[in-house]
């Protein structure tokens, strides 16, 4: 039974190591979480305070100073809308590539990815001018369009990989059963691609939510998202770390929590999304 004893020890070591790594990687976030509930003086205390009566003062201050709900709403609306719009455009393309493959499919995919290679800042002036002349500056619509376009290649790519996992015979079976293209898509394809749709959406949601450059530069009073809220606090009059932490926490909390809950989906979807 010596064999299984070493196995148990090994297992324990592995468990500990995994937890250690996880806690280490999570530590900065956890620290921020703590700081958000400190007072400013506690936040910069040396050595750091670990036990303290939590205060909600920072959150209150943020609430008074800026319309958190407006920013949050903009973030939700723009990221959700751009994800949906992206799906609407990307899904048919991915479908076509996955089920009507041709020699050029691979090239088109690669070309799509390559459109993401121009640094955003290099295109700022052209895009700004375009947005301004089409009246899309500081509108959620404008942001949605830009987010959608910049996420589109990745969406097509992930969906394509996901759809390729679906055996074409199932679609053919539906066709033999008398399904029209639309029925085939809605009643067979859609339910089958739920997993990859979900993971693709989640990834794009995260990317849109965290998009800082365009949201900062193309919005002002009405369409600003939570990333612009951060720009309000990122270097206030003196480094108000506690307040900064609180603001950051508010900015990332929705997406982190959402990410936690959909973690399983992400793991599953990605399996056949990006990899297989």
């Amino acid at each position: 039974m010596t064999l299984s004893r070493t196995l148990i020890v090994l297992h324990a070591v592995r468990t500990l190591a995994a937890w250690a790594v996880a806690l280490l990687l999570f530590f900065p976030l956890g620290w921020m979480l703590l700081t958000a509930f400190k007072t400013e003086l506690q936040a910069i205390a040396v050595p750091p305070v670990l036990l303290f009566p939590p205060t909600l003062e920072n959150f209150h201050e943020i609430h008074v100073r800026s319309d958190y709900l407006l920013y949050a709403r903009n973030s939700v609306i723009t990221s959700v809308a751009s994800t949906l719009l992206g799906l609407l455009i990307a899904a048919p393309a991915a479908y076509a590539m996955a089920f009507f493959r041709s020699r050029r499919t691979q090239d088109v995919l690669m070309w799509m990815l390559s459109t993401k290679m121009m640094p955003a800042v290099g295109a700022l002036v052209p895009v700004y001018v375009l947005a301004q002349s089409s009246g899309l500056l500081d509108t959620r619509t404008g942001l949605v369009i830009v987010f959608t376009l910049s996420n589109l290649p990745i969406m097509v790519w992930m969906l394509y990989a996901g759809l390729r996992e679906i055996p074409p015979e199932i679609l053919e079976a539906a066709r033999m059963d008398g399904a029209t293209l639309w029925q085939e898509a809605r009643r067979v394809l859609l339910p089958l691609s739920m997993g990859s749709l979900a993971s693709t959406s989640l990834l794009c949601l995260v990317l849109s939510w965290n998009e800082a450059f365009w949201s900062l530069n193309l919005s002002s009073a009405h369409a600003g998202t939570l990333t612009t809220l951060i720009a309000t606090y990122s270097s206030p009059e003196g480094l108000f770390w506690a307040r900064l932490s609180a603001a950051s926490l508010l900015a990332i909390a929705p997406i982190v929590v959402f990410g936690w809950f959909s973690q399983k989906q992400l793991v599953q979807g990605l399996t056949f999304g990006a990899v297989k």
Partner: protein, 346 residues
């Protein structure tokens, strides 16, 4: 009048001519089996009939209607795929009723049809499960059930049993045969399994390299193959074919003139193994396979010809034994140098 008619069907994949002008007529209610080596175009032909591939030439007529250009969904055919292609997100019931729902059939009738099919296929107690929760054989039956609820003009089966294990395979084969008798539906069936082809078919179509080699009833093909290819393709263990230079001296005079530089074919049951000296063809046993009910004996003649004999009695021979072979030359098939059967009168 022919029910389903293929006229000069052609199919190219890029530059590759996969189907080379196939003509075939199938009667209403007939059970036709396509056989042929891997890559010969069986599936492609089936998919052309189903409308899953577009034809590059020729025409298809079904029940006096030209369907060459009709989309699959309008052809009124049902297909059972090799991989079943069940809808994984639907229950068995939904899988089977999907086509009827699309056709906007009255729900009461749908229920009735599905239940009838389920009872034929013994699926009654699985109707609410999803395919994931079914065994291979059950999935297979669902796939068939999905086809039969529709009462289509023609059933298309593409190697439907190849994913099953031997036992289940035999069982399902019998079920398909029974079903065909009961429903009397026109059926086209692709398989590479001997037993399936022999037992199910009214007529077998032997394909090779995108062309039809021979069409006929199973025993017709077994007994009167048009050429060596068909002869060797039908029957298991396959027909012994002995090239002219390995013939025993006693066979040579019997050979028709046209076969002199060809080959002789002998079904394993036309060969029997007897004690040495009893017959002029001396041989040595290489392997004996006792299957219980029958025994396969692999022997090699002094002329170098490898022959398999099949006998239904047990035998006492062992590998290495010297024996002589008794061959029923009346049952021999003769092939000319090009492999075509040389007809003899007997």
């Amino acid at each position: 009048m022919a029910y389903l008619q293929l006229k000069g069907i052609e199919k190219f994949f890029g530059g590759h001519r996969a189907i080379k002008g196939v003509d075939l007529t199938i009667e209403r209610g007939e059970f036709v089996v396509f056989v042929g080596p891997s890559g010969c175009g069986k599936s492609t032909l089936l998919r052309l009939i189903a409308g899953l591939e577009s034809t590059d030439g020729g025409s298809l007529v079904l029940d006096a209607r030209d369907i060459t250009q009709a989309p699959s969904s309008k052809r009124d055919l049902a297909m059972v795929f090799q991989s079943y292609a069940l809808y994984p997100h639907m229950s068995v019931h939904q899988n089977m009723s999907f086509a009827l729902q699309l056709a906007k059939e009255d729900p009461a009738i749908v229920r009735q049809k599905v239940e009838r099919a389920a009872s034929i296929l013994n699926l009654g107690s699985y109707l609410e499960r999803t395919p994931r929760a079914l065994s291979g054989g059950q999935r297979q039956r669902v796939a068939i059930g999905r086809a039969i609820v529709r009462a289509p003009k023609v059933f298309l089966f593409d190697e439907p049993l190849s994913n099953l294990d031997a036992a289940l395979r035999g069982q399902t084969r019998v079920e398909i045969a029974k079903l065909h008798r009961e429903l009397g539906a026109t059926t086209i069936y692709v398989t590479h399994d001997q037993v399936e082809a022999m037992t199910l078919a009214d007529r077998i179509v032997v394909l090779r390299d995108g062309q039809i080699e021979q069409v006929g009833s199973p025993l017709e093909l077994y007994d009167r193959p048009a050429n060596q290819f068909v002869a060797q393709f039908i029957g298991s263990p396959q027909m012994n074919v002995v090239a002219a230079d390995q013939w025993a001296a006693v066979w040579r005079p019997q050979a028709p003139a046209a076969a002199r530089d060809g080959a002789m074919g002998l079904r394993p049951e036309a060969v029997s193994v007897v004690a040495p000296g009893l017959h002029p063809v001396e041989a040595r046993i290489e392997l004996v396979e006792a299957l219980g009910a029958e025994t396969l004996i692999y022997a090699r003649t002094v002329d170098g010809a490898a022959l398999v004999a099949r006998q239904s009695a047990r035998c006492a021979w062992h590998a290495g034994d010297a024996v002589s072979l008794s061959v029923d030359l009346a049952q021999a098939h003769w092939f000319d140098a090009a492999g075509r059967t040389v007809r003899t009168v007997h």
